[in-house]
Symmetry: C2
Amino acid sequence: MSVLIVGSTALDSIKTPTAENPRLLGGSASHAAVAASFFSPVKLVGVVGDDFPKKYIQLYGRHGINLDGLQVKPGKTFHWSGEYEVNMNNRRTLLTELGVFETFSPDLPKAYQSSQFVLLANIAPALQHHVLDQMRRPKFVVADTMDLWLNIALADLIKLLKRIDGFVLNDSEAHQLTKEDNMFAALKKIHKMGPKYVIIKKGSHGSILSGPKGFFLCPAYPLHTVVDPTGAGDSFVGGMMGYLATARGTVDANIRKAMIHGSVVASFCCEGFGLNRTTKITRQRVAQRVKELEKLTRF
Amino acid sequence: MSVLIVGSTALDSIKTPTAENPRLLGGSASHAAVAASFFSPVKLVGVVGDDFPKKYIQLYGRHGINLDGLQVKPGKTFHWSGEYEVNMNNRRTLLTELGVFETFSPDLPKAYQSSQFVLLANIAPALQHHVLDQMRRPKFVVADTMDLWLNIALADLIKLLKRIDGFVLNDSEAHQLTKEDNMFAALKKIHKMGPKYVIIKKGSHGSILSGPKGFFLCPAYPLHTVVDPTGAGDSFVGGMMGYLATARGTVDANIRKAMIHGSVVASFCCEGFGLNRTTKITRQRVAQRVKELEKLTRF
C-alpha cells in the first residue's frame, strides 16, 4: 500500500562549523518521502517555485515518488537557511524566505484522496486540517509538528489532535504543549487530547512510543559522525509510515519495527548534508543497520 | 562469589524543590553495596565517625554486608549537603564536611585481599591505587570516578586506568577526559588508556558499554517520578558488579544482563530519598522490572 505525504518542499542552505552547503533539497515532505520510499510507494503533496532545480525532480523520480500532487507555481521555492553549533545540538535560523509556500494550499489529486496511510509532515496545522477535509476514511493518519505551531497556531493544532491516530513531537515540544517535565505525565495529557499513538522524539537518545499496547523505548542508531541532523525527525516518521504501509498485519503488530526502521533511516540522514546520504542507501543497507541495532540492544 | 566494594560512606543532607532530608545514609560505597547485595555477598571498606547512627550499621547488616572493613574513627562522618533544581537534572553542593574521611586509608582486612570482584567506587584515585596494592590477583576490577578527580588528580587517575578491567564514567566526564564530543571517539581514546571495558553513563538516557564483544546500548528504566537521583550511578555499578560476581560464565557472557540489573536498581534508587526506596525492594521486584525493560525494548 502507498503512503500519502504532505508537507514542505524546500531548498535548505546549511552551515556547520566545517562546511557550507547552499540550496540542498529539503523540507519535511522531501525528507519523509525519500525515507518512506525504501519501504512503499509514496504520493507527495507540496509546492515548489519555477526556480526549483530539475535535478531534484529527478531525485524524487529515482525514488519512485508520485509527483501528481507536487504543485509548481510561478515564484520562488521556500528557502530556509540555518547554522549548527559545534556539538550539532543547537541550530539557529539565519533566513526564511517562504516564496510560493506562503500561499500553499495542499489540494489533493483525486487519486490521492482514498490513501490509507497519511503522513501530515510538519506544516501549519490549518493545512494539515485541509488535507484531512479531502480524505475518504484513511486507515492511519499521523501528524508531525514543530514549536512554531505551538506558538502561533495552538488552537488549530489542538483541534487537529482529535482527528489523527498518531502524533509525533520532540521532547521540548511535549513539554511546551503539556507543561509536564515527566515524559509519562506528558504522554498521558497528549493522549487525552486525542491521538491513540503518541511518539516523543529525543534526538540521539531515541524515541518513546505510547500506544494501546503500552510503551516502547526505541533506540537511536549510534553514529560515529554527525554531518547534518536536518531532516532526521522527518526521515524517522517517513520511514516509519513507509514501513507501516506495506507491513502485513495490524499497526499494533508492526509499529515497533516501523519505528526501528524509521530510526535507522534517520541515522543515515544525519551522516550527510540534506538528503545526500539518504539518497545513496538501499533497503539492504537499512536492513543491515536494523540487525546491528538488534545486536546492540539485545540482553 | 562476593564483591569487594571500596568507596565513601557518608551522611547526605538532600534538598529538592519539594522536600528536605537531613543526614540520610549516603556515599558511593553505601549505594553500591546495598545495590550489589541483592545479587551477591558484599564486603565493604569505608570509614565513618563516632557520630554514625547505629541504625545505618543495622541497615548494612540487614543487607548482609560484611563490615569487617568498615573503620569507625573518632570524629565526624563525612557529611555532604546538596540541592536539586526543579527538573532534577542539575544539583549544587551546599556543604562538604570531610570529617574522618579526610585521613581515610582503605586498608583491607586479610580476608578481603583475595576478593575476585572488586569495585573501586568513587573516591580519590590515590585511595583506589592503595586498594589495588593490597589485592592478590583479582579477577575483575571496575573503577568509578567523578569530575573532581579529573580536575585535581588526573595523573593518578590515568595511572589507575592501566590497572583496571572496567571504567565507568558519565558522558560529561568522558568529554572532559578525552575532549571528544562523539561518544565512539571518546570510548576509543579511553580504551587506549587501559581498560578493556568502558561504560559511559547517560542518566535517564541509559548507558553504553564498549567491550571486547562490541557495544551495548543499555536502556534506563523510565520513571514516572524522580524523587532523588543521588546515588543512582553508584547503584548502577554496584548492582552490575553484584550480578557479575554470582553469574555463571564469563564476564563477556554476563555483562549486558549485569548492566540491565544495575540499571533497574538505579531506577529504584531514584524513587526515594537516599537509600529509602532501594532498601525496601527485593530481588523479585528487580527481576520484575528487568522483565518490563525486556518488554519495553523488544522489537
